[in-house]
């Protein structure tokens, strides 16, 4: 009996201690760096030198609006929210403008197009860019001799990429260009963020434009030199390491093993450019302060800390998310990381850079939206169906998805009233 009583007392004391600790800790809720290991790194590496004790709480993206709602109804717990641009955008009304800290953007060298995104289409800075990932190209040095004359990796175009793959095939007898078009590969992002914007300047609005027809015909020709195993590839680091593929496009995190394990064999470089620019997709993570924040002053101190170059480097080491501010990469940075970090920086500062957002506002329709691009690719490229018919058919499907989600256009498509419309 007394044992049980002791246990009860212990539980009560532990509970009290926990609430006491919470009272002076700043609560930082984040939808990124969520897996146990990454969250632990966020606490012990990224937030190690934070100006106040921080309680770092990882949370699933769908739970974020629910937490904010609870705070608005009086709970008032969260002082800082970290989430993808696309997760923050629909919640803009819940956040306080950070205009007082806008000076940080220029001071720390946040690229202008990223700063513009963080305004969420308003005149106010609605969140502070925190970190970013993206998709880049990787090539084995063995492929360099086949690079077409006059082409450089930093300024590559899609036409040159096609020529490069063709040259390599002629010389080696193998199709060495690879794409992650497997069941869990991120091929849809290649069409949404890279190919379509580079050729048409948009994603949704220009989906069936004459420029899109040209693009698909060009890509179909390029695909003749792509490794036919591409429809089985999910992470390009594996075929790159095995030598099946010498040139590839993929997410930085899905290329990392190639650069980490054999940094001397591989080169990282920006995605190619098309007639309308160098389309690329920054996966931008920002931090925002809820209107109900119990410690808004502390939150802005923490934001300042997160944007310091040292913290940004610590973030890169801990997570593979790249700095949004201008940093000099330390000399002791892992070679593989450095290769990728340089390519990410080259890509976003390229004179013809054309950033394209991850789809915004689609919610549970994200999967079906992605499927439209993969289906279009399958029909046109793999099944040889007429381009215009396929685009007309898939455009109808896309409109249905956009209407169901009531998703307005996102950059680089011009802003829309109501659901985004395919022209």
């Amino acid at each position: 009996m007394s044992g049980r009583l002791t246990m009860l007392w212990c539980a009560l004391l532990v509970g009290l201690a926990a609430t006491a600790a919470r009272a002076d800790e700043l609560v930082f809720l984040s939808t990124q760096l969520r897996p146990l290991e990454e969250a632990q790194k966020a606490r012990t590496q990224i937030l190690k030198g934070a100006p106040m004790p921080v309680s770092y709480l990882p949370e699933e993206p769908p739970q974020l609006p629910i937490h904010l709602q609870a705070d608005e109804q009086g709970a008032r717990t969260i002082s800082l929210v970290g989430a993808l641009h696309g997760e923050l955008a629909p919640l803009a009304a819940s956040f306080q403008p950070l205009d007082q800290q806008a000076g940080l953007l220029a001071q720390r060298g946040v690229p202008e197009q990223i700063a513009r995104l963080a305004h969420l289409g308003t005149d106010h800075l609605m969140y502070m860019p925190w970190m970013q990932a993206t998709y880049i190209m990787a090539a084995n040095k063995k492929a360099l001799p086949y690079l077409p004359q006059g082409a450089t990796l930093e300024t590559l175009t899609y036409a040159q990429l096609a020529q490069w793959a063709e040259n390599a095939e002629k010389a080696t007898g193998q199709r060495v260009l690879g794409f992650p078009a497997g069941p869990t590969g991120l091929m849809a992002r290649f069409f949404q963020g890279y190919l379509l914007p580079s050729y048409t300047g948009g994603v949704v609005v220009s989906f069936r434009s004459p420029e899109a027809v040209t693009m698909w015909e060009a890509f179909k020709a390029l695909w003749k030199h792509a490794n036919p195993n591409s429809t089985n590839y999910n992470f390009m680091q594996e075929p790159l390491l095995s030598g099946d593929v010498l040139i590839a496009w993929d997410h930085v995190a899905r290329l990392q093993n190639a650069f980490r394990n054999k940094p001397d064999d591989f080169l990282a470089f920006p995605a190619p450019a098309g007639p309308k620019g160098r389309g690329f997709m920054p996966v931008l993570v920002g931090v925002a302060v809820p209107k109900t924040a119990p410690d808004a002053a502390g939150a802005s101190k923490l934001i300042d800390y997160l944007l310091q170059p040292e913290t940004q480097i610590a973030t890169l080491r801990a997570s593979f998310f790249f700095p949004v501010v201008k940093v000099a990469l330390p000399t002791d940075l892992e070679v593989g990381l450095k290769l990728e970090a340089q390519a990410v920086q080259q890509q976003q500062t390229a004179p013809d850079a054309l950033p394209t957002l991850l789809p915004v506002g689609l919610g549970s329709h994200n999967g079906e939206f992605d499927k439209i691009f993969v289906d279009t690719f399958q029909r046109i490229v793999l099944r040889d169906q007429p381009v215009q018919d396929v685009l007309a058919r898939e455009a109808e499907d896309m409109q249905r998805v956009l209407n169901a989600a009531q998703a307005p256009c996102w950059s680089p498509d011009p802003p829309s009233q109501g659901a985004c419309q395919v022209k």
Binding site: N229, N232, D244, H365, G367, K371, Q378, L382
Partner: protein, 282 residues
């Protein structure tokens, strides 16, 4: 003491409750989900399923796989059972080795065969060493649908023949030796004895084995996904894709309902085709 009339019902009650909670309730929910569309109950999700790019392929691939692999497995299992019957020594060892694939998970089996058939896999290595091919060949791409199908067929055959075999072996052991001895006394050849004596006596066993195997074959998933990926859609992999990638649970439920209906129909066909003839008792 007179056993209560309720006792048998009480004894089967737990399994009934179990089935009701974990099978019937989800089944009803799945059917409800299949008819649930954003604009109220209707056939919208079924229309999307049928209109989908991969639907016809998935249906064709599933049936092709079942119709090829199940008869092959039945024939192999019958042959293996007959061989086992005539073994004098080491019977247990052979039985044990033949049933090894039963203990291996579907996905592991798929990955084993992927390791064999992939570009830098064992098959290419052996063929290359023997000088049969000048460079590694791609067997599992959309450009080689025939070889891809064959690869999946072999993997499924390897993995699941043991299930049919175990059922058939049990049935064979129930047939008294005397029938066959009597037939040989009248001068029947080995083939005649198998065809006219063993096979008819095995009919109920074959029925069970076929139903079990056909239903499982319509649900083929992990092996196919590991080897074929997106290049070889089947009904269950489409259900998976709609659930987890496209996140449209209603269309995923339509696929689940379709698989259930197809399996039920197959069971019915097998039951009817192998039913006892008039005057027969089993």
């Amino acid at each position: 003491m007179q056993p209560s009339a309720l006792r048998p019902y009480l004894l089967i009650a737990p399994s009934l409750v179990f089935l009701l909670l974990l099978f019937v309730v989800p089944l009803v929910q799945t059917v409800a989900l299949a008819f649930d569309t954003p604009s109220g109950p209707g056939l919208g999700s079924f229309a999307r399923m049928v209109g989908d790019l991969d639907f016809a392929d998935a249906l064709r691939n599933t049936f092709a796989l079942v119709l090829c692999v199940v008869p092959l497995q039945l024939a192999a299992a019958l042959g293996m059972s007959m061989m086992l019957r005539h073994l004098r020594g080491g019977r247990d060892i052979v039985l044990w080795i033949w049933t090894i694939p039963l203990g291996i998970s579907d996905l592991a089996a798929g990955l084993v065969w992927l390791a064999i058939l992939t570009d830098k896999g064992y098959l290419n290595t052996v063929l290359f060493e023997l000088g049969a091919i000048p460079a590694p060949q791609s067997w599992l791409t959309y450009e080689t649908p025939g070889v891809l199908f064959l690869g999946i067929l072999i993997a499924e055959f390897w993995r699941a023949t043991a299930i049919v075999f175990v059922v058939i072996v049990a049935g064979v052991q129930l047939i008294p030796q005397e029938y066959e001895e009597a037939a040989s006394v009248f001068g029947a050849t080995a083939w005649q004895r198998f065809r006219r004596v063993t096979l008819p006596l095995l009919r109920p066993t074959i029925q069970t084995a076929l139903i079990l195997r056909a239903v499982l074959a319509f649900e083929a998933f992990a092996v196919v996904l590991a080897i074929g990926g997106r290049n070889f859609p089947v009904l269950v992999s489409q259900a998976f894709a709609w659930q987890y990638q496209n996140q449209n649970y209603s269309v995923a439920a339509c696929y689940a309902v379709l698989v259930t209906l197809v399996s039920l129909a197959a069971t019915l066909v097998i039951l009817l085709a192998l039913r006892p003839r008039a005057g027969e008792t089993v």
